[in-house]
C-alpha cells in the first residue's frame, strides 16, 4: 500500500467516519448524546480488550530483554516529553506556568483510544506487533504527571495540606491504569487458550465497539470545541498539531534502535505522539486544580486526537515501515 492509499483508507474507515459524524452532530448542535454510563462502560471494555491482547501476545512470545528495554524507553520518554512541551508552550504561547504544565503532562502521557485505533490500522494492514507495547502504554501513563508536578513545584510552592504520597496513590491507582495493567496480566496468565472462549467479546467486537466509542468522542470533542474556542489561542492550537510530530520524530529513532518490528515501531511512535484524554485530565483536577480544564481537554481531544486519527496514524505507519524496511 502506498502512503496515500493508506491515508485515504484510514480516512474512509468506519472508525474515523463515525468520529466525524459525532463531530458534525456536536458542531451542528444536535441533541444526540451517548449516556455517560455507556461511554464509561465502552472505555472499560476498550482497556480490557487492549490489555488482554497485549498480555496474550507476551504469553506467546515470552519475556525478553527487548521487552524490558522498550518499557524503560517508554517510561523515560513519558517523563522527558513534558519538559520539552512546557518549554515550547512557555516560549510560543501566553499560557500561565500552571496551565502550560498541565497541558505538557497530557503530551507526555498516552491516549489508550489512539492506541486502539492504531491497533485497528495495523489490523487492516495485516501487520503484527510486539504485544508488550501494551505494557509500554500502561507504563507511559503516569511519569508525565510526575514531570508536570515537578515543573510546577519549581515555580509555585504547594500550599494545600495534601501529602505527595496521597496524591501519588490517587494517580497511580487511576482506574484506567488499573484496568489496562490488570487485563494485561490476566491475558498473560490466561494465555491464548484462556483467551479463546472470551475472544468473541474482546477480539471480534473490538472494531465495532471502537466505532461506537469514536462517535462519542466526536460528540464530546465537538462540544468542547464549540465551548473552548476562546480559551485556545492560535499558538496553542498549533502546538496541538506540532507536538505530536515532534514527539514522533523523537520516538522514531528510538524505535529503530530498539529493533522493533514495523507494527511495533508504529505503535511506539503513536504512543509518544498521542496525548492523554482519560487518565491525565482527572489527575490534573486533583494535582493542579488551578489549571483550566477547558484548555487541556479541548487541545488534547479536539485538536491532537483528530489530527492523529486523520493524518498522524498513517504517517507514523509510513515512517515505521521505512525505519524497519
Amino acid at each position: 500500500m502506498s502512503a496515500i492509499d493508506l491515508a485515504l483508507g484510514n480516512l474512509l474507515s468506519p472508525v474515523v467516519l463515525f468520529f466525524a459524524l459525532g463531530l458534525f452532530a456536536a458542531i451542528a448542535r444536535s441533541d444526540l448524546t451517548i449516556p455517560e454510563a455507556v461511554a464509561k462502560g465502552l472505555a472499560i471494555y476498550l482497556m480490557m480488550a487492549i490489555g488482554l491482547k497485549g498480555g496474550v501476545e507476551v504469553a506467546k512470545q515470552g519475556l525478553t530483554a527487548k521487552l524490558v528495554l522498550t518499557i524503560g524507553a517508554g517510561a523515560v520518554l513519558s517523563f522527558a516529553l513534558p519538559f520539552l512541551a512546557y518549554a515550547i508552550l512557555r516560549t510560543v504561547s501566553r499560557l500561565s506556568p500552571v496551565n502550560a504544565a498541565a497541558v505538557a503532562a497530557h503530551y507526555g502521557s498516552i491516549s489508550a483510544v489512539t492506541l486502539a485505533v492504531g491497533i485497528e490500522v495495523l489490523g487492516r494492514a495485516n501487520l503484527p506487533f510486539e504485544g508488550y507495547l501494551i505494557a509500554v502504554a500502561a507504563v507511559m501513563e503516569t511519569p508525565a504527571i510526575l514531570a508536570a508536578l515537578l515543573i510546577v513545584s519549581r515555580s509555585t510552592p504547594r500550599e494545600d495540606g495534601l501529602s505527595g504520597k496521597e496524591l501519588f496513590h490517587e494517580i497511580a491507582l487511576n482506574g484506567s491504569v488499573v484496568v489496562l495493567v490488570g487485563s494485561f496480566i490476566v491475558g498473560w496468565i490466561a494465555g491464548p487458550a484462556g483467551m479463546k472462549p472470551i475472544a468473541p467479546l474482546f477480539t471480534d467486537l473490538f472494531r465495532g465497539i471502537l466505532c461506537l466509542f469514536l462517535l462519542d468522542m466526536g460528540l464530546v470533542a465537538g462540544r468542547g470545541f464549540a465551548r473552548a474556542r476562546k480559551a485556545l489561542s492560535p499558538p496553542v492550537i498549533l502546538f496541538g498539531i506540532a507536538m505530536p510530530l515532534i514527539s514522533a520524530a523523537i520516538a522514531a529513532p528510538i524505535a529503530a534502535l530498539l529493533g522493533l518490528s514495523p507494527g511495533g515501531a508504529m505503535l511506539f511512535i503513536t504512543l509518544a505522539a498521542s496525548s492523554s484524554y482519560i487518565a491525565v485530565p482527572a489527575a490534573m483536577r486533583l494535582a493542579l486544580p488551578e489549571a483550566d480544564a477547558a484548555i487541556y481537554l479541548t487541545l488534547s481531544l479536539g485538536v491532537t486526537f483528530p489530527f492523529n486519527l486523520a493524518i498522524g496514524l498513517p504517517l507514523y505507519l509510513t515512517i515505521a515501515q521505512h525505519l524497519a524496511g
Binding site: 455517560e36 461511554a39 482519560i278 485530565p281 486544580p289 488551578e290 480544564a293
Partner: protein, 103 residues
C-alpha cells in the same frame, strides 16, 4: 411532631475532588451526607455536560449535608478551604428535621 432546626449545607463540587471532601467531612465527624449526581451546569468556567464523558475531570456532584447549627462555622470553614482550590460552590440554608439528636 417535634421538629429541630438544623443547617442544610449544599456543596456543588467537581467530581475528582469528591473523595477529598468526604474525607474532610469524616475527619470533622459530620454525622452523614448524601451525594447527588449533576448532569450539566454553567459557571464562570463555562457550560459543561456529563453526556458521553469518559473522564470525571469535568463532572460535578452535589453533596447535601445536614448539620447542627452550632457546628456550622466549624464545618463550613474547612470545606470552604478545600473547595476554593477546586471548581465549586457552597450554600447553606435552614431545615427542620425530626430526630434532632442525630446531627
Amino acid at each position: 411532631m417535634q421538629m429541630h432546626l438544623k443547617k442544610r449545607i449544599e456543596i456543588v463540587l467537581e467530581a475528582p475532588g469528591l473523595r477529598r471532601l468526604t474525607e474532610t467531612l469524616e475527619r470533622l465527624n459530620v454525622s452523614g451526607y448524601t451525594v447527588l449526581p449533576a448532569i450539566a451546569g454553567n459557571g464562570r468556567g463555562g457550560p459543561w455536560s456529563e453526556a458521553g464523558q469518559v473522564s470525571d475531570a469535568e463532572r460535578m456532584v452535589c453533596v447535601i449535608c445536614i448539620v447542627d447549627p452550632a457546628r456550622e462555622e466549624e464545618i463550613v470553614g474547612p470545606i470552604f478551604n478545600l473547595v476554593k482550590r477546586h471548581i465549586g460552590l457552597i450554600s447553606v440554608s435552614d431545615a427542620q428535621v425530626i430526630r434532632g439528636e442525630r446531627f
